[in-house]
């Protein structure tokens, strides 16, 4: 059992929780993730480690499916049954020179820990974050403190630059030399943004988020094509060379259980709508 030490809603349907998990927190590095299982009947889902403080880790997620909705309804003092990690290879943090760390939507969650590590390694760090609208933007203040400069974009212009993070990045690339970039967000956003860095020859990492089961290299559910080779995102990644990734295949495989995911969340909402918003298992 792992204690939920703090919960907070950051934006519409976006939540952060701090979980006490010393075995994860003490060894977690930028770019790694954990697997969480809420209760005995629960699914194992991967969540990126967004920050670490002592023996606790922070994860941020959007309540979309059953597990994330369930997680979003947990309160401080509740527990989750299982937390395994840290999993995956850490980000390749080096003194590159100037690094851009780019987050889209809930993918912004992955950015602070990478930005902080890149900064510690002596890089000049440019943060670029974006969301559909300003109400969905998260971690702006925190990242403003970590990054040397922070740019914000919203699709509807309600905050920062009107447009996509890829547009902001392109403008930045035309003005200055960027040596390395991390792009984390929805698969389509990662695909489009990586296409922007490619002509500039910028070494670019993306953090892939395929469906996982064990998260330790045992099942192959998370297989992705990188440079034409099958790789397991859980153990060979989750970060890969953006310019080698087959994003269309990633998107296709992410949709493998759409029907099941839809029926699971519908059933969950029906079964929990009458109670006080707590977990059906509480």
């Amino acid at each position: 059992m792992y204690l939920i030490e703090e919960t907070k809603q950051l934006a519409d349907r976006v939540f952060q929780i701090w979980i006490r998990a010393p075995h994860v927190a003490r060894h977690a590095k930028a770019g790694q993730f954990l697997m969480i299982r809420v209760a005995e009947t629960g699914e194992r889902i991967p969540l990126t480690i967004s920050a670490v403080d002592g023996d606790s880790v922070r994860v941020i997620f959007m309540a979309i499916g059953k597990t994330t909705t369930w997680l979003s309804r947990l309160a401080t003092g509740d527990t989750v049954l299982d937390v395994a990690g840290p999993l995956g290879r850490p980000s390749e943090i080096k003194p590159y020179g100037t690094c851009a760390v780019i987050g889209g939507g809930v993918g912004i969650a992955s950015i602070p820990i990478i930005a902080a590590a890149a900064k510690r390694a002596g890089n000049y760090v440019i943060g670029i974050i974006g969301a559909r609208n300003s109400a969905l933007l998260i971690l702006e203040e925190e990242l403003a403190g970590t990054c040397d400069e922070l740019h914000v974009a919203t699709d509807d212009g309600s905050g920062g630059t009107h447009g996509f993070v890829s547009d902001v990045l392109k403008t930045a690339l035309q003005k200055q030399k960027i040596d390395c970039a991390w792009v984390v967000g929805p698969a389509m956003m990662m695909k489009v943004t990586s296409m922007v860095t490619k002509p500039f020859g910028v070494k670019t990492f993306v953090s892939l988020n395929p469906i996982m089961v064990d998260g330790t290299g045992m099942c192959g559910s998370c297989r992705v094509l990188v440079g034409g080779t099958t790789r397991f995102a859980c153990v060979d990644g989750p970060e890969f060379d953006a310019h080698q990734v087959d994003f269309d295949l990633l998107i296709q495989r992410q949709r493998s259980y759409l029907n099941e995911e839809k029926s699971a969340i519908e059933e969950y909402l029906v079964h929990t709508c009458q109670c006080s918003g707590g977990s059906p298992h509480a």
């Binding site: 075995h23 597990t67 299982d82 064990d214 153990v235 295949l249 493998s256 699971a264 059933e267």
Partner: protein
């Protein structure tokens, strides 16, 4: 000991074989000739005193029989079910020459089930030695090694990366062959010996190598959990599973009970399974239970199937179609599987292991309609931890090289089970772990740590 009829059992995940009654067990035990030089014991990888325990059963002393078995084997309810007895103890039984061998496996299972129903007697344990041993992986090798070390008085921490201990016993073997409450009960006995199990701990990640080597000795028992893919077009389609994934979703995550359990699975209506080992049989029979019509494609002949004969027979009884001398070459579909193209294979010369080498027949391709494809062509040692240990010698299949006592090339590091041998059986893993545990014990005594 009548097996449940196929028509009944394909609708659930309950055991196929209900086991012996007391009367049946005693009658079976009385058939044993009590050989002076028992070849059955020599055939047992963990050297259970088979004639002694069988004799105890024959005289209705089931508690005595349990104590005798557990001297050598702490997982008898598991081994009684999943050991390939036909090629071990029962294969060596002298009665088998003219008649049926003594059903040693069924007797072992009977004794273990009887003891579990009565309530276990906590096993004896030596005085604490003060030595600390880490065991990595809680599958058959890890559990067996941990038990042997704990019995000898060492403090044992057993690390497991998944959320529950058991390894392949839990995620791999379906409950109709090995019910999960039996795994839990035998694991609980090992915990009763003082073994501390830390789940959700991936060694190399949650536990650093430095932490690991701070122990007096380490037993690596990480198994062979890395699934191989065939490498044919279409393997990235939705509806293509490794047998590991398919079985893990059902056995460990209970996807068969979705949506009561949250992990989903594609059930398929027409499933093609590629492979011929026990894992392929398990995947095929799970797919049957999820309601599919299943075809198993194997590239050699029926007599070459590496799976246990009894499981092949059961798979056939349950309606699995077999296509022998055929191999998949392409999985068809736009984004989801719609079919599998195979070619006929001709089996000719023998390879280094004296197994026939299949080669494709030109122009022989045919297509099976399918909405699910499960590859069960084998698995190798998970390289995750191994590749991070400096100086560790590795073998051909990515396994860790060991001497006959399980010593690796790294000081104080031992390895046993599939990580050392490549994919093999539960009992061979246990046999290797037992040897390694004894060698660790000897090393600790000799070094004066004890």
């Amino acid at each position: 000991m009548l097996e449940r009829p196929p028509r009944e059992r394909i609708h659930d995940f309950e055991e196929v074989d209900p086991g012996l009654s007391q009367e049946e067990a005693v009658a079976e035990a009385m058939r044993c000739l009590q050989c002076k030089k028992p070849s059955c014991v020599a055939g047992c990888p963990v050297s259970v005193a088979i004639p002694s325990f069988v004799s105890a059963v024959a005289s209705w002393d089931f508690a005595g029989a349990a104590a005798i078995i557990k001297e050598e084997n702490m997982l008898p309810a598991i081994c009684g079910r999943v050991c390939p007895q036909e090629s071990q103890c029962e294969g060596a039984c002298i009665l088998g020459v003219k008649d049926l061998p003594v059903k040693v496996g069924a007797l072992e299972r009977f004794v273990a089930d009887w003891e579990r129903a009565q309530g276990f007697v906590p096993p004896a344990r030596s005085q604490s030695t003060g030595c600390r041993v880490a065991v990595v992986g809680s599958g058959p090798a890890g559990l067996c090694g941990a038990a042997e070390l704990a019995r000898r008085g060492h403090t044992v921490i057993l690390y497991e990366s998944l959320h529950a201990p058991g390894g392949v016993l839990l995620y791999g073997i379906p409950s109709f062959r090995l019910p999960k409450d039996i795994v839990q009960a035998e694991v609980a006995q090992i915990e009763a010996l003082g073994v501390e199990i830390r789940t959700n701990h991936l060694v190399g990640r949650s536990v650093t190598l430095e932490d690991l080597f701070a122990f007096d000795a380490v037993l690596l028992a990480t198994g062979a959990g890395l699934p191989y893919f065939i490498g044919i077009p279409g393997e990235q389609l939705a509806g293509v599973y490794s047998a590991n994934e398919f079985l893990t979703r059902v056995n460990l995550m209970r996807a068969d009970r979705f949506p009561a359990y949250d992990t989903p699975i594609r059930r398929g209506s027409r499933v093609v399974v590629a492979g011929g080992g026990n894992v392929a049989m398990d995947a095929a029979r799970v797919a049957v239970r999820l309601g599919a019509s299943v075809t198993l494609v194997y590239r050699r002949n029926e007599e070459d199937l590496p799976a246990r004969r009894a499981e092949v027979v059961r798979a056939k009884e349950e309606g699995v179609n077999f296509e022998f001398c055929a191999a998949p070459v392409r999985i068809l579909g736009e984004s989801e599987v719609t079919g599998v193209t195979c070619v006929r294979m001709v089996v000719c010369a023998q390879d280094g292991n004296m197994r026939p080498v299949p080669s494709p027949v030109e122009g022989s391709s045919f297509t099976l309609d399918a909405d699910l494809f499960i590859g069960a062509i084998g698995q190798g040692p998970n390289p995750l931890l191994i590749r991070e240990i400096p100086g560790i010698a590795r073998g051909e299949v990515g396994n860790v090289e060991v001497d006959p006592d399980g010593r690796t090339s790294v000081s104080r590091l031992f390895a046993a089970g599939d990580v050392a041998t490549g994919a093999a059986t539960v009992i061979l893993a246990m046999g290797g772990a037992k040897k390694a545990a004894l060698a660790i014990d000897q090393m600790l005594i000799r070094s004066g740590s004890v």
